[in-house]
């Protein structure tokens, strides 16, 4: 079957920098912490979504990355909600917020576990947050890998597209643990525009080296 799936947009966030379609779009390198950086990005991009503040750091990271992706490529205007799939992975799962929950139940003298914290102690909640914000109801799954498995995710994505399980896929990696974070999300569609959906190109976009501009 001819593979006409294309990578049509990407957002990469790491080291205090936000890249959209491989171009540096925002930087707040002077941020005191990762959380400050994410809040700075939220303000800079005028995300205008108060629920952001209630989220844990992992979901905040997912929100910024997905918001920029959706602004760059308005896929929810192009496709029905159930035709957009989300395939995301990370290495640390929800360990960052798990620790916070654990601390809150370890102290017998100050025992006030927080429901808002507990709600985030699953990595796939970040998919839920992206879905809620953008009204996406297609297939969605979350994998835990040591490092991003581009062969597997590429294969899974193509399989969904080729078997008509999705008309558009948002795929990538969102990881946050102990003040270290990295996120890359990209859209895959069947279209004439965009770069070929191959593992080589996935690796390129991760390094912000994929050329999205067609001459």
């Amino acid at each position: 079957m001819e593979n006409t799936t294309k990578i049509t947009a990407a957002c990469v966030i790491e080291n205090g920098k936000v890249y959209v379609n491989s171009k540096l779009d925002f930087t707040a390198e002077g941020s005191a912490s990762s959380l400050d950086f994410l809040k700075a990005a939220y303000t800079h991009y005028q995300l205008n979504y108060p629920k952001f503040y209630k989220m844990d750091s992992l979901c905040k990271l997912a929100m910024v990355a997905s918001e920029l992706l959706m602004r760059t490529n308005r896929i929810n205007e192009k496709y029905a909600s159930e035709d957009i799939a989300l395939i995301i992975a990370n290495g640390a799962s929800s360990l960052e917020i798990d620790t916070e929950h654990q601390v809150s139940i370890a102290d017998e003298a100050n025992f006030f576990p927080s429901p808002a914290v507990f709600v985030y102690t699953l990595p796939n909640i970040l998919i839920g947050e992206i879905a809620i914000r953008n009204k996406i109801k297609g297939e969605n799954t979350f994998f835990i890998f040591d490092t991003f498995d581009e062969d597997f995710i590429h294969s899974y994505t193509d399989s969904l597209m080729n078997n008509d399980k999705a008309k558009c896929v948002i795929a990538g990696w969102v990881d946050f643990y102990e003040d270290k974070y990295r996120a890359f999300l990209y859209t895959v569609e069947r279209t004439n525009e965009g770069e070929a959906h191959t593992t080589t190109n996935i690796n390129k976009l991760i390094d912000n080296k994929l050329n999205f501009e067609r001459n």
Binding site: P50, K54, F112
Partner: protein, 84 residues
Amino acid sequence: MEALIEQLKQEIIEQLNLDGLKTEDINPDTPLFGEGLGLDSIDALELIVLLDKNYGLKILNPADGKKIFQSVRSMAEFISENKK
């Protein structure tokens, strides 16, 4: 009562992570849920934790919370009436 309302506003902002909101932004009589502040079911549970943690008041049935958490003022009144 007014002092309690002000204190409560600050505590709500902190407990619910309502960054970017200041106490001046919260009207004591505006509905907390639905329109108004637009809080959701998890926020309601957090308010239950707040009452326990800061005022020693336990709510065992989340359904009881509906009336108590109508507004900041109704919360303050509940605390005044029941605080030990």
